[in-house]
Each structure stands twice: as C-alpha cells, then as structure tokens.
C-alpha cells in the first residue's frame, strides 16, 4: 500500500464521516464544526491532486471566513438544541430524498464519463513541494484575465449585487 493512497483513503473517510456528522448533529454549533472538518479534508484531497492553491483558498475562504460567520450568527442568536428540532413534514422528506438522488446521479454520471484523471497522482504529488515553483498561480491569473474574463467579471458583478441586496433588505427592516 503506498502513501498517497493511504492519505487519500484517510482524507476521504474523514470528509464523509464529518459530512454525515454535520447532517445528524443536533446542536447547530457542532454541525458547523463538522463542516469545518469536512472542508479541511477536502483541502487535503486538493493537495493530493497537485492543487495546493485551491486547498489554501478552500481553507481561507470557507473554513476560515464563511464558517466563522456562520458560527457568529448561530452564537448571536444562541440557537439551542430545542430550537433546532423543527417539525419535519413528509413532503419535506420526500423532496429532499428526490434532490439527493438527483444530485448523486449527476455526480456519478459526470465522474463516470470523465474517466481516469489526466495526470497520474503519483507524478503530480512528487512535483509539489520539492520544486517550489509557483507555476499554477500566474497561469490561473492569466486565464482569468484572458479566456475567462467575461465570466469572471460577471461573477464579481453578481457578488456585488448580492451585497447591495443584502444591505437594502436589512436597512428596510430596521427603519
């Protein structure tokens, strides 16, 4: 058994277990924490795929900022176990089962079609720490400002709209 398979198995197991823990946890704060662990495990998988930049961003943006914000809101509202136990309706359960199956089908289908990964994992893994050359980041930047300029700018406008919208909604409620 080689090392990278071992790391892959461990990270995947942690990701799956913590994702399940996030779903079945009664306390909201612990759900958020399980999600942090999930994101961390996903970051490890990104490193295995020779994408340390994606891994770092995953941890900074999701684990480090967005989930801290989640935690802030949950703690501010002081959601307790009782508040989290909402009534569950049959319709809700049915709809969630359908959407889970649909999403799972799409994921399996896409993975099935794409076939084997383009780069053998062992080769890419050896290329990460030893070389220390930051090839992927300038490449990413160049792609963002040439081929993907329009989607990139459209996304930033979308985010800006969301921020302005959120501000407007919160202001209207308080005044």
């Amino acid at each position: 058994m080689n090392g990278e398979l071992l790391v892959f198995a461990a990270a995947s197991a942690v990701a799956i277990v913590s994702a399940l823990a996030m779903l079945f946890q009664k306390t909201p704060v612990k759900s958020v924490l399980s999600l942090v662990v999930t994101f961390f495990a996903l970051a490890v998988l990104s490193v295995l795929l020779a994408a340390p930049f994606v891994a770092a961003l995953q941890v900074i943006v999701y684990a480090g900022a967005i989930l801290v914000l989640f935690l802030f809101v949950i703690m501010l509202l002081n959601l307790t176990q009782e508040a989290a136990e909402r009534e569950t309706r049959v319709v809700h359960r049915f709809l969630s089962a359908v959407s889970v199956l649909a999403l799972g089908g799409i994921l399996v289908g896409v993975t099935w079609r794409s076939g084997a990964p383009p780069v053998p994992v062992s080769a890419s893994l050896n290329a990460i720490p030893a070389t220390g050359v930051d090839g992927e980041i300038p490449m990413l930047g160049r792609l963002l400002f040439t081929d993907y300029l329009l989607p990139f700018e459209a996304l930033s406008v979308l985010l800006l709209l969301a921020v302005v919208g959120a501000l407007l909604l919160s202001k209207r409620r308080f005044e």
Binding site: A56, L57, V59, A65, V68, L71, M75, I128, G132, D134
Partner: protein, 348 residues
C-alpha cells in the same frame, strides 16, 4: 547517504530545532519578559524574587499551572471545552513550517556536500498557507467561549469571531502587495526579493502599518483584546478555564505572538537578510538565524510595549477601524504597489 533519507532527517531536525526554540526557550521566558516589561513601563520592580533577576519565575509559573486544580463547569460541553485550547495552540505552531528562519547551511557527509535551506517546507503557496492556518486559530477562542456555557465567555467568543473576519480581510489585502512586488507567494522568494531591493516596509509603508496593526487584532493583544476584556467580561473566552488548560491559552497567545512577529519580519523587514551582507557558508547560515531572531525579538518587544501603553478600544471603534479605515487603505496600498511594479517594470 540516500538523498531522500537525508532530506527526511534534515526536515525532522529543523522541526525539532524550531519547536525547541519556540516552545522550550521562548514561550516561558516571554511571560517573564512581559511581566518585567510591564513593570519597567509602569515604574515598579515586577517579579524579581525567584532566582537572580527573577529568571526562574517562568519555571515557578509552569509548576503552578500544573499543580492547580483542573475544574470543568458542569454545564460545559466537555469535548469542545477540552479541545479548544489545543485548537488555539496548533495553528500557531504549524505556521513556522513555511517561514524561512535563515539562509542555508552546507553540510559535508562522506565527501558529498548537502545544502540545507533553513526552512521546514518551501511550499509554493507559502503566504496563503499562513493565512489558512491563522484563520483556523480563531476557532479555539470561539469554541472556548461557546463550550463554557457562560454569558461572559460567549460574549468573548462572539466578539472574537466578528473581529477576526474584519481584520483578516485588510491583513490579507495588505500582504497581497508584498507578493505582488516579489512576484511569488513563496516566503523565501519574498526574502530574496528584499535582498536585492528596498525592504518592503519602505515602498509599502502603508501596507506594513496595516499588517502590523491587524496582527495585534489577530493575536488578541491590547489594544484589541476585546475577546478577553477583563474590565467588562471578567476574562472573556477563558473565564471558565483553570490550571493547565488556562496555561495552554496563555502559551497559545505567546506562540501566536512569535508567529506574527516572525511573519512581519519576513514580509516587511527583510527576513533573515541584512543589506550589504552576503550570508553564505556555515557561519553565514548561523549568522542569518541570529539576525532573524534579533529582528523577531524587536517585534515581540513592540507587542509587549504597546500592550502596556495603549488603552483598549471600544468594540464599535474596533469594527469601524477595520472596515472603514483599514480595508480602503489596504486597497489603496495595493493600487500603489501595482503602480510601482508597473512603473518600474517589476523592478524598483
């Protein structure tokens, strides 16, 4: 010797060296330094009874931490309560992995000369790795606050989570200026760049100030220790902690302090280099470690000095400073650096 085996042994030796210096030599004595420094600033003797000049005070403090009764509140969430001090400590200690603490040391074994770079892991996302880890450190404080199941602790935790988001943004954008100038995210590349150019603190003075001040907020030190705020929240997030777990928070704060100082030195003050000095060979390597240590120590002292000089900010003042002053100013710094790089064709 097999080069792979040699690399592994060298890496382990470097990790042991860095942790020994930080954990065993630096952390206990920083507590003493802080207390004596506070006394100096407040014009009183300070702890000077244990050993010559109070030098064994650190030892006495550690023994006291171990001997005290370890109390856990009945309504605390035991798992998270016990985990929180660790979460605060570990990110601070792993940050040192990507900080270059010296140039390099040549070592000849069996006629073959190996060059050991004095950095534990030269990963190509260096700065981002540091930000990723330090952004996780806040969970220690937030969880300590929540799991204690106590109003004061919870207030401290909530404040900390909001504070960290506000300051991390400005800090990250300020640091973007540094790697824009160096053209790389690797911290050794940032140091190399500063060997041939001005130190980053001169062309990017604004970014440097923002980064240093944000580091105070990031490490929860006065004037931004709103999570602790003993005048209003008893002891904030660690109100319910005692004995060794409290000691872990204490050590975690100083580990963060050392990490932040080392990072400031690396990003803005030339790292282990000094202008006009070519630090090569064995003695050059050792001298570079010394230079890095002295520079880092200067910033540790700055942190202590400020703590005993400035009063605490109010919470709304802290948020206003982060969002309304530092965020726009850090963007301005980025614009200025971009202009410098463009005007100098990447060389200024």
């Amino acid at each position: 010797m097999d080069p792979l085996l040699f690399d592994a042994i060298a890496a382990i030796a470097k990790i042991l060296f860095v942790w020994a210096v930080v954990l065993a030599a630096l952390l206990p004595n920083l507590v003493l330094l802080e207390r004596r420094g506070a006394a100096l600033i407040q014009d009183r003797p300070g702890p000077n009874r244990v050993g010559p000049f109070g030098l064994f005070q650190a030892l006495a403090d550690v023994v006291k931490m171990f001997m005290k009764e370890d109390m856990v509140p009945i309504y605390a969430d035991r798992l998270l309560y016990n985990l929180a001090p660790l979460i605060m400590m570990i990110p601070a200690l792993t940050t040192f992995a990507v900080i270059p603490f010296g140039s390099q040391i040549p070592l000849t074994i069996g006629g073959v000369t190996h060059t050991i770079p004095l950095i534990i892991a030269d990963v190509n996302v260096g700065i981002l790795y540091v930000f990723a880890l330090t952004s996780l450190g806040v969970y220690g404080i937030v969880l300590a606050g929540w799991s204690s199941n106590d109003k004061f602790s919870l207030m401290g935790g909530i404040r900390s989570s909001a504070q960290i988001i506000s300051y991390e943004l400005a800090m990250g954008i300020a640091a973007t200026g540094v790697f824009l100038a160096a053209g790389s995210l690797r911290l050794p590349a940032v140091v190399e760049y500063q060997q041939t150019h001005l130190w980053n603190c001169i062309p990017q003075l604004l970014g440097c100030i923002i980064f240093v001040v944000s580091a105070f907020a990031e490490t929860n030190r006065l004037p931004f220790d709103l999570a602790e705020a003993e005048a209003e929240l008893v002891a904030g997030f660690h109100t319910e902690y005692s004995a060794f777990k409290f000691g872990m928070f204490f050590m975690g704060e100083y580990a963060n302090l050392v990490a932040a100082s080392a990072l400031i030195v690396t990003l803005y003050f030339g790292g282990w280099s000094l202008p006009g000095l070519a630090l090569t060979g064995l003695w050059g390597g050792i001298a570079s470690i010394g230079i890095f240590a002295v520079k880092t120590f200067c910033f540790i002292w700055l942190f202590i000095w400020v703590r005993w000089t400035l009063p605490r900010f109010r919470y709304d003042q802290l948020m206003a400073l982060g969002w309304k002053a530092f965020l726009p100013l850090s963007l301005l710094n980025l614009l200025w650096t971009g202009w410098l790089v463009l005007a100098g064709g990447g060389k200024f």
